[in-house]
Symmetry: C2
Subunit: 149 residues, 2 copies
C-alpha cells in the first residue's frame, strides 16, 4: 500500500525494529550495570579492550575507533596512565605522535572486568535451551552486521 509491492513486510520490519530497539536498550543497560565493582568506567574499559585486541596505537587512532574527539581520548588515556593500566611512549620516528601501550596491570584489569561481565551474562544464558542459545549466536552475528552498516 505504501510504496511498492510488499507492504506487510515493511510493517513487520517496523514492528520488529521497535521491539528489537527496546530489548537491545534494556539488555545493554543491564549488562553495563554489571561493571561497577572494578572502578573502571565504560569508556576506560573500552580503551583497554581495544589496546588488547589491536595492540599499541596513538591516542588519535583510539579516538577514531571510539568515534569520539581527540581531547576526550587524551583525558581518558591520562586517567588510565594515572592508574598504571597503560603507558605513553614517544613514537620512534614521528615526534608528534604518542604510543599508548597496555601494561601488565592493564591486561589483568581488562581480563578481570570482562570475566565479571561475561559471568553475569553467561549465568543468564545457562537458563536457556540449546535452541535458544543458537538463536542468540545467530542474532549476535546479525547485530554485528547491522551495527557495521
Amino acid at each position: 500500500m505504501t510504496t511498492t509491492s510488499d507492504a506487510p513486510a515493511v510493517a513487520a520490519d517496523l514492528a520488529l525494529a521497535a521491539e528489537l530497539r527496546v530489548s537491545l536498550g534494556r539488555a545493554t543497560r543491564r549488562i553495563k550495570g554489571e561493571r561497577g565493582d572494578a572502578g573502571l568506567s565504560d569508556p576506560q574499559f573500552n580503551v583497554l579492550a581495544i589496546l588488547l585486541r589491536e595492540g599499541p596505537m596513538s591516542p588519535g587512532a583510539l579516538a577514531d575507533l571510539e568515534r569520539i574527539q581527540p581531547p576526550s581520548m587524551t583525558r581518558t588515556v591520562n586517567c588510565l596512565v594515572e592508574r598504571g593500566l597503560v603507558r605513553k611512549d614517544e613514537h620512534p620516528t614521528d615526534g608528534r605522535q604518542v604510543v599508548v601501550t597496555l601494561t601488565e596491570a592493564g591486561e589483568a584489569e581488562v581480563a578481570e572486568t570482562r570475566r565479571r561481565r561475561d559471568a553475569w551474562l553467561s549465568a543468564r544464558l545457562a537458563g536457556l535451551t540449546a535452541d535458544e542459545r543458537t538463536t542468540l549466536v545467530q542474532a549476535a552475528e546479525l547485530l554485528r552486521r547491522i551495527a557495521a552498516s
Copy 2:
C-alpha cells in the same frame, strides 16, 4: 545439567556472552546515534515514551522506572516543560505530589522520534532474509527475558 556435568556448555556460554555483549553494545550505540535530529536527548525521549505508554504519573514514579534519583528526573521534566512537551499539574488530593502529563506536542514528538529511529533500523532489517528476521524476533524475546532477570 547446568551445574557441574557439562563444562563445554559453560565455555560456550562464556564465548557467546562475550560476543553478544560486544554486538549488543555496538548495535545500541548505532541506534542511539540515529536520534540527534530532533534535539531530544535520550533520557528526555525515554520520559516521553513512558508517559505515552503508562499515562500521567508523578516525577518520583518516573524516576523509579528509569532507575535514577528524583533530582535528576526533576531536571529532565523541567526541561521538557520548557519545550512544551509535558505539563505539570497539581495532584487532585495529595498536595505534595505533581502529575506529569504528555501534551499533544509531546505525543507528536515521541511518535516522530520513534518513527525516525525505527525507520533506520527497519531499513537494515529489510536487507535480511526471512529466516534472519525470524531469528531476530526470537532473540528480541530472549533479550527481554534476560534484561528482566
